[in-house]
Symmetry: C2
C-alpha cells in the first residue's frame, strides 16, 4: 500500500497496527484523522465474532446496516463455485453501512467501504493481502488519485555489496553535502549489502528525474566496483532478466541453504526459462547418492570445503545439462549437536561453466536464520558477477 501511495505522491506518514479491541480502534481512528487527510484500514471485516471493525465503523459514521445486492451476488457466486453451503453468517458479509460507498471485492466475500467526513477519506478493506490488493487497485487508488495534489516524486537506487554504510558515506561525503534540499539520500543496510536510495520531490518531472539521475551517476562512479545494480529490483529478478538475455541456463546444488536459493529464484514468474532445477544435498549421503561425489573426496576435504563445493557445482551442471552450475556448502548454526562449532558461519560457494570454476569463501557472524539470508544474497551477487564476467 505504501509503495503505491508513495508513487502517486501521497506521503505515508504512519503505519499503525492495532488489535481487535474497540477502544484502541476508536482512539487510533480519532488521532489518525487529526494528522492525516486519508486513513486506510485493513482487517476486521470477516464473519466471526472477533471481527468488530465493520459494526464499529457503522456506528462511528452514524449509519445502519443494509444488504448490498452486488456484494450478495458476489458471496453467492463464491460459495457456489467452491460448492459450499451458505450459512447465515456468510450472507452477513454482504451487509454494509448505508453511509459508505461500497467497493466490490473481486477476490473474496468482504467488500471494501469508502467513508467521507469533514473532507477526510476513510477506507476499510479486508485484511487478506490479495483481497486488499485487488480492492486497492480497482477501487481505492483510482479514486484517491483524483484527490491528491500532484507532486512529482522520483526514486533512484544504487545497490552495493562489499562495503559498510559508514565507509560508503565517507566515499561520497562531498556528493551527499552537495545534494539540494529537495533530494534526500537514505542508506538501507541489510544482508551484507547496502542500498542507497535517492528521493527527489518537485513540480517538473523531467527536470527532477534528470537531476536525481545525475546524483545517482555521481554516487555510482564514486563507489565503483562496490556497485551491483542501479535498478530498484530484487536480485532474483535481475538474474532472471540477465540469464534469459544471455540465453544461459542454471542448475544449483545447495547444502546449507536447504533449497532457499532455488525457492527464491523460482519466485520470479518466467524463471522456468532459465532455471532448470536443483539438488538439496542436506545430508552428506545425498552428495554421494545424488551428486556422485566420491566418498573419498568428502572424507579427505570435509563436507564444507572448496573441493566439495566445486564438485557440487560441476556435478549438478553435468547432471542437469545446464550452462552454469552453482554449489554452496557451509555451517550456518553456531552449534552442531549442542556443541559450539568453531567453524560456524563458514560458507563456500562455487560457480562454473564449461570453461572455468570460481570459488569464494565467506565467514558470516549471525545466527542460523540470518546467516541463511546473507548466504542467499551473496549467492545471488556471485551468480550475477559470474555471468557478467566481474571479479568476485
Amino acid at each position: 500500500m505504501a509503495k503505491q501511495l508513495n508513487a502517486m505522491g501521497a506521503e505515508v506518514i504512519k503505519r499503525i497496527a492495532v488489535g481487535d479491541e474497540k477502544n484502541a480502534i476508536l482512539h487510533t481512528l480519532n488521532t489518525s484523522l487529526k494528522e492525516a487527510s486519508i486513513v486506510l484500514i485493513t482487517g476486521g471485516l470477516g464473519p466471526t465474532a472477533d471481527d468488530i471493525t465493520k459494526p464499529l465503523l457503522c456506528d462511528y459514521f452514524g449509519g445502519k446496516m443494509v444488504t448490498n445486492q452486488e456484494a450478495l451476488e458476489n458471496v453467492k457466486r463464491i460459495f457456489n463455485r467452491r460448492n459450499l453451503p451458505l450459512l447465515e453468517v456468510n450472507l452477513k458479509q454482504a451487509e454494509v453501512p448505508d453511509v459508505c460507498v461500497v467497493l466490490q471485492n473481486p477476490k473474496g466475500t468482504a467488500p471494501g467501504m469508502w467513508f467521507e467526513k469533514d473532507e477526510k477519506v476513510i477506507v476499510a478493506m479486508p485484511g487478506v493481502p490479495h483481497e486488499m490488493m485487488a480492492i486497492m487497485e480497482s477501487g481505492v487508488l483510482p479514486a484517491l488519485e483524483k484527490r491528491i495534489p500532484k507532486e512529482e516524486i522520483v526514486h533512484r537506487n544504487i545497490l552495493t555489496a562489499g562495503l559498510g554504510e559508514s565507509f560508503l558515506a565517507a566515499r561520497i561525503e562531498a556528493i551527499e553535502k552537495a545534494l539540494p534540499p529537495n533530494i534526500k539520500l537514505a542508506y538501507l543496510p541489510g544482508n551484507w549489502m547496502v542500498k542507497l536510495r535517492l528521493t527527489g520531490k518537485g513540480k517538473d518531472a523531467k527536470a527532477l528525474t534528470l537531476l536525481v539521475e545525475k546524483f545517482q551517476q555521481q554516487i555510482a562512479e564514486a563507489l565503483e566496483a562496490f556497485v551491483i545494480v542501479l535498478e530498484d529490483e530484487r536480485l532474483e529478478k535481475i538474474l532472471y532478466r540477465d540469464f534469459v538475455a544471455l540465453k544461459k541456463t542454471l542448475a544449483i546444488a545447495e547444502s546449507c541453504t536447504g533449497g532457499y536459493i532455488s525457492h527464491t529464484l523460482t519466485q520470479v514468474d518466467g524463471s522456468s526459462h532459465y532455471f532448470l532445477g536443483g539438488i538439496v544435498s542436506y545430508d552428506a549421503s545425498v552428495k554421494e547418492n545424488s551428486l556422485s561425489i566420491p566418498k573419498e573426496t568428502i572424507l579427505q576435504h570435509g563436507t564444507v570445503s572448496e573441493e566439495v563445493t566445486k564438485q557440487m557445482a560441476k556435478q549438478v551442471r553435468l547432471q542437469m545439462k545446464s550452462d552454469i552450475g552453482f554449489g554452496i556448502t557451509g555451517w550456518l548454526s553456531q552449534y552442531t549437536d549442542g556443541e559450539i562449532n568453531p567453524d560456524a558461519g563458514t560458507v563456500w560457494m562455487a560457480v562454473c561453466d564449461d570453461k572455468m570454476v570460481k570459488t569464494k569463501k565467506f565467514r558470516f557472524t549471525y545466527d542460523r536464520i540470518w546467516n541463511k539470508e546473507v548466504a542467499l544474497q551473496m549467492a545471488l551477487v556471485l551468480l550475477w558477477k559470474f555471468i557478467h564476467g566481474k571479479e568476485n
Copy 2:
C-alpha cells in the same frame, strides 16, 4: 517484541511505523506517551546522516552527547575483529545522551538507550533485528519485568485445516457463547488453515490455565478431524519433532514449489537429523535426468499428473535412501508463457514409504506467490497426516 511483551503481561496496544522525519517522530513520541506507559523505539541509531533518532532523543530529554567508554570499547573490538579501519563516524556510535541508561549491544556498534520521564519509560534500540533482539533480551525485558503489574496471560491454540472460519464458528457457536468474559477467542485464517486462539487473563495462573485448556479441549472435540495440532508451533517444527521421535527420514522432490518446502523444513535447527535432502525438478528434463522418470511416463500423463507425482516421491525416496518420500507438481501461475492456463492452481502431491503411496489433488485459486504459500502449508499438513496414519 510483541510476543515477548505479551508473555510477560504487558499489553501491546499499538505498533507504529514512522519515517526518518523529525516532526513525524516527535509527534508519534508525544501521542504514544499519552496512551502508553512504555514506548519502545527501534532504528535510526546508525552512523549515516539519515539516522536522526539519537540526536532527536537527546534534545527531547534535554541532554548532551557524551562518549560511553564501554560502548567505545565494543565498537573498537568489532572493527578490530573484522579487520576494518575505524572512521571518525564509527567512534560516534559510542556517543550517547548523558540523560539515559546505556544498554550495551552485544551484536553491533549502536548501544540501546533507556530514558525515563514522568514515570514513563522510553527505550531506543537499533533497527537491525538480531541487534534489537539481543538488547531486548539482555537489557530491556529484565528491567521491564520489574515494573509491570503481574497479570497472568494464557494462550492456547487449535490449528485446523479443511474448513473455513465461518463453518468452524458455526460448529463451536455454543462453546464460544459460553466463554467467560476473561477468555477471548480469535480466528486467525491464512493459507487454507485457520488457527483458533484462546487468550485468558486472570490472577491465578493455575486455575486460568485449567479453564483455558478446558475450552481448548471442548473446541478440539467439536472440530474433530479438522484439528491438526494444539500447540502454538509452526508445522515445520512439529514435523521435525515427530519425524525424529518416530526415527524416520525424509527426502522430497519439488517441482512447482521450487525448493520452498526444503527451505522451510531446514529453517528448523536440527532438521538434518531427519531431512536428507531434495531434488528441485523445475524443468521437465530434470525429472528424467535426476529422478529417472521415463520420458514416456511424462509424455503419457503430463508433468502435472498423479502418476508423475507418485514417481517423483518414489524415486527421490529410493535415490536418497529415506524412509519417507514426498513429491509435488503443479501449475501455480495463472499464465503460462503469456497465455491463460486453464489448469492454473492445480497441484498434485504424493507421499510414500516402503509400503504405500498416498496422493492428493488440490485446486488453489490465488496468484503464483500465494498459491506457493498455500501449497507449502498443505504439503506440511499432508506429511504430518501421513506419518500419523491419518486420512488425507
